[in-house]
Amino acid sequence: PVTAGSIVVPYGHVIGNEKWRGSEVAQRLQGKVRLIFEDGLGLVDFHLSNRTCILLISEADLVAGDEFKRRLVRFRNASSLRGIVIVEKTQISDQYYPGVQKLAVLELGMVLLPVANQEEASQLIIQLVSFCVREQSRERGSNPFVRRQRGPPAEPAVLRAVQRIPAVGKTKALLLLQHFGSIQRLCNASVCQLEQVVGQTVAQQIYTF
């Protein structure tokens, strides 16, 4: 049963697959997040928000063979949700990790995060949930890795660029910009026009550049 379609997750809640009821992950999540169990989530283990869900791969899954790979591929084909794969990377399952990473991240374009055990998985899920909540509440500025739009004015950068022209320092750069206004117009200036601003030699150098 491939149920990977979207599910409505109430604000700040996590919907967990029935099969995790009573597990260590679930016990550690309870109290920290509002966890609801539901039957028939299919491939998905936890829904964090309307567009983000988690697939949990245990140490045993990794060692047992390729079944989990089929699960990832089926999920990817069936769903447009953002799938975060959490995998139990232990001393025993370590050797399989590079293969899983290649499949999940490079080939399927999913997110893959390793944890050492179910306790770490629950801690990671709690952090992920808090970011999903912030995303929904549009506190986007709170993410330190999302770039804020609108940079500083271009003037200092334009001035720096003009100074890269051989024989042009700060003073000449300012003078040139005063006369020509933009880099494009400076590029299209004739030697005569340049000579009116700077000396003959420098004008020639700028023109050849």
Binding site: P98, Q178, N188, F209
Partner: protein, 237 residues
């Protein structure tokens, strides 16, 4: 105005010069084991440039453990996001130095928080246990981008006069080292670049449309003395 470049047999990777000291095994492994062309350049922004649109930063697991590095990392990645369409972080397990007993990795709440923030920001994360594995991941990324027709095609460091021109392009904000190299190879002169249309810039420098628009705007930007930061006389270059 665009000079067609022959597709290269093996993908090329640009490595930042600091990586010679911090990741020597990564570079030698890329060259010797995987047979890639690796060009070491003063990139400044990222550790590796893998394609025309993808930059890769190598960080140690320990750097994500404590809040002390948070600002540095976020500034670095925000700058990268201005320059590249795609960003990938390779989290490498710290090396155990000789004489040091293997340190147990203590997962902190901060570490999970950083990972969550990266995921939400759309930064791709890969995990590596050593420099050799990092090299293998870089190779996989380069091959993937090669298949998607985004591979770097010019790797040769320009000589003489071309060097000055490259340095001019590199001073343009939010233009990657790869794009600056593309400009050098695709256009005969700076004047040709300055007079190009947005689509011509996008094709010649292999930039996305918004990036080409930004470059176009910059070259035609009308200089306004009022907007210069105040202490003009004091040289800050």
């Amino acid at each position: 105005s665009r000079i067609p470049v022959q597709p290269s047999p093996s993908p090329c990777i640009l490595a930042d010069s600091r990586e010679i000291s911090s990741g020597p095994a990564v570079i030698s492994c890329l060259r010797a084991v995987h047979g890639l062309r690796v060009q070491v350049c003063p990139l400044g922004t990222s550790d590796y440039i893998v394609s025309n649109r993808l930059a890769v930063d190598r960080v140690f697991q320990s750097e994500l453990q404590s809040p002390g590095n948070r600002n540095k990392l976020s500034q670095r990645l925000q700058r990268l996001q201005g320059v590249f369409e795609r960003i990938c972080v390779i989290v490498e397990t710290d090396r155990v130095r000789p004489g040091e007993t293997s340190r147990l990795f203590q997962r902190t709440q901060h570490y999970d928080g950083v990972l969550s923030a990266l995921v939400q920001a759309g930064v791709r994360i890969l995990f590596s246990s050593c420099q050799e594995e990092t090299a293998a991941l870089l190779k996989d990324l380069a091959l993937l981008e090669h298949r998607k027709d985004a591979a770097l095609q010019v790797a040769t460091e320009p000589e003489g006069h071309q060097r000055d021109i490259l340095s001019f392009y590199l001073s343009i904000p939010n233009l990657s080292y790869g794009a600056a190299l593309n400009l050098c190879h695709s256009f005969g002169s700076i004047t040709a670049v300055a007079n190009s249309s947005v689509p011509a810039l996008a094709a010649g420098a292999r930039l996305s449309r918004p990036q080409a628009e930004e470059l176009h705007r910059f070259l035609r930007h009308d200089f306004d003395f009022q907007l210069l930061p105040e202490p003009l006389s004091k040289g800050k270059s």
